[in-house]
């Protein structure tokens, strides 16, 4: 089916909206587009370069020092090892990586992270999408209820972990609710089978409202007349949700999918605060495994190798996003 015209229309609407809310800067957009040659034209190119560098220098230094160099250091260090016998660093090639792969704790961590990723992302995105649909329709007090869903995004991840550690206590809020429903008390964080789902619930509590905001923006960009036309043609509401709303928000949806996946790959605070990777390693997500390897086990070089793997996976996912969105533009 062809929905080609709609993203264009929605992009144009979005731009218009930016124009009206952002004042002069935004409205002036089109005037700037053809050949972004600098104000001084060709004449002052060399001089301009020097001035531009002055403006860029503080940021470039801090980006290099605080983002790129540590990544480079981790890459280099991941090929070395500290050897007490030979004294000092020795080059071990991919030795740290093969050590990692041979390590059952690491393998379990990868498996846990994979399962976690495959559950948490679809769940959060599906819930965010359905809530975005619900809260963009007219309903009594809709704005207030929507605000309550969004509210937890202000809670810092570590603080939400602290809050839920109390909720999940044996005598905590979660079990009181189960008691109300005459369900026996559950162990939650101390159970191998319930700990990871418990963490997923708390992450969704702070995450869903945030991702919903992007999807609400996307849904609001869909022109009303498309829905009206479909409605007049007798298309059922559920069918419209599936074949109109969903395809038309696929750009924000793709963004949310990737950003959410990356964010969830880096989950750390709840694991460190609630379970320390346990019980029996069932919540040992990779980010916590890196931390644990570096500080509790003290194997910094192998931890660096794991950092590199984590960064590589992230970059692959982001690269996929660019492919996804590029293919979409045609």
């Amino acid at each position: 089916m062809s929905t080609a015209p709609h993203p264009v229309a929605s992009a144009r609407r979005r731009r218009n909206r930016t124009g009206t809310t952002t004042g002069q800067g935004g409205q002036a957009g089109p005037a700037r587009q053809p050949g972004r040659s600098g104000p001084a034209g060709k004449a002052g190119q060399a001089g301009q370069g020097r001035i531009a560098v002055l403006f860029l220098l503080p940021a470039l230094i801090s980006l290099a020092l605080l983002r790129l160099i540590p990544a480079g250091v981790a890459l280099v260090e991941s090929f070395f090892n500290e050897s007490l016998l030979q004294g000092g660093r020795t080059f071990v090639g991919i030795g740290n990586y093969t050590d990692l792969i041979g390590n059952p704790d690491f393998r379990q961590s990868v498996a846990v992270t994979l399962v976690f990723t495959l559950i948490v992302n679809p769940v959060q995105i599906a819930v965010s999408f359905l809530l975005a649909v619900l809260y963009t329709q007219r309903a009594a007090g809709s704005k207030v209820w929507r605000a309550l869903v969004v509210l937890p995004i202000a809670v810092p991840p570590a603080v939400s972990a602290v809050i839920w550690s109390v909720i999940y206590r044996p005598d905590g809020l979660a079990n009181s609710f189960l008691d109300l429903l005459t369900i026996p008390a559950q162990p939650f964080l101390t159970s191998s089978s319930q700990a990871l789902p418990s963490i997923i619930v708390l992450l969704s509590w702070i995450g869903v409202g945030y991702w919903m905001l992007f999807l609400i923006a996307g849904i609001n960009d869909i022109p009303d007349d498309i829905h009206e036309a479909a409605s007049l043609d007798g298309v059922s509401p559920w069918r419209r949700l599936w074949s109109i709303t969903l395809p038309l928000v696929r750009r924000p949806l793709a963004f949310v999918l990737v950003a959410d996946t990356v964010a969830n790959l880096l989950v750390f605070a709840p694991v460190q605060i609630l379970t320390k990777g346990g019980p029996n390693g069932t919540t040992n997500l990779m980010m916590y495994d890196v931390y644990n390897r570096a500080y509790a086990i003290g194997d910094l070089h192998t931890a660096q190798a794991e950092v590199i793997l984590l960064v590589a996976v992230t970059l692959i996912i982001v690269a996929l996003q660019f492919r996804l969105l590029k293919g979409d533009d045609r």
């Binding site: 800067g25 860029l56 981790a74 309903a139 937890p152 809670v155 810092p156 972990a161 009181s176 984590l310």
Partner: protein
């Protein structure tokens, strides 16, 4: 008339129930922060209205908060976040200006560096970076806590997108009137870019306020500990006064909430448009 997946009444009930479900943990925390710590769990079985509402609120937990470590840690968080926003905006806005007002060789390469730097997730490289900071004696210093927040590729990217839309004619007029490039930046670009600056400032603020891995690695002594780390430490102790823990959680949530609410118009717009284009 316009048929929807659910009728109006069912929709309203669903919207309300879901909203309340998201709110209940926060309400419980807020109520718990307003009653003595030994009542936190006593009011839970059986669950009733009294579990969530208190008729005789007390501010004692909050006053104990301010005499204890959490109050100090919250002030530290505020200091680190505010300094990050101010320094970060100065650095990121001037970089964005350098990338958008000038045409020079290597501009594409510089921009690629900016993009690459925000594609590398900070938390993942926090461990190698903390090792470097230890060598530079930045552990347990405010400088060490602030630094990673100031060079924010995402903020540069957002500001550059906005700056590119500022018309050349304005800059030319300014130059003819004798403005230097710094004048063009501060007198023309910055005043025109308030929304983008606020959006980027929010990004910088929340990056710091919500960070946990970095302050855990970098600042753990009493003078430099940040709010979330201090709260997590408090919760991990053997004898915990949950009234105080909840008061700390409320405080650490209300501050970013106030900031987000104050600038909510700018909250999602910049992030979403950057992701979509």
């Amino acid at each position: 008339m316009n048929r929807r997946p659910l009728p109006y009444f069912a929709r309203s009930v669903a919207a309300a129930l879901i909203g309340l479900a998201f709110f209940i943990p926060l309400l419980w925390v807020l109520t718990g922060s307003l009653r003595p710590g030994n009542e936190t769990f006593a009011r839970l079985s059986p669950l009733s209205w009294g579990s969530f509402i208190t008729v005789d609120p007390t501010l004692e937990n909050y006053s104990r908060l301010f005499t204890g470590d959490i109050g100090r840690a919250t002030l530290n968080s505020l200091l680190v976040s505010v300094v990050t926003v101010v320094a970060g905006l100065a650095i990121c806005a001037s970089a964005a200006f350098g990338l958008s007002a000038f045409r020079f060789r290597g501009r594409t390469a510089v921009f690629a560096v900016v993009v690459l730097s925000f594609l590398i997730p900070f938390d993942a490289i926090a461990i190698p970076l903390s090792d470097m900071f230890r060598d530079w004696n930045l552990t347990n210093t405010f400088t060490g806590l602030v630094l990673p927040g100031i060079g924010n590729g995402m903020a540069i990217f957002l500001l550059r997108q906005f700056f590119l839309a500022i018309p050349t004619e304005l800059v030319e007029a300014g130059r003819l009137d004798g403005l230097g490039w710094f004048g063009v930046f501060t007198r023309i670009y910055l005043p025109l870019s308030r929304p983008a600056l606020i959006g980027a400032g929010l990004t910088l603020f929340l990056f710091q306020w919500h960070s946990y891995v970095w302050p855990l690695l970098m600042g753990t002594d009493r003078e430099h500990i940040l709010g979330p780390v201090a709260l997590a430490n408090l919760q991990g102790q053997n004898f915990v006064d949950y009234g105080v823990v909840f008061a700390g959680a409320v405080l650490l949530t209300l501050i970013p909430l106030a900031v987000i609410l104050g600038f909510q118009r700018y909250f999602i717009q910049p992030v979403s448009s950057s992701g979509l284009k």
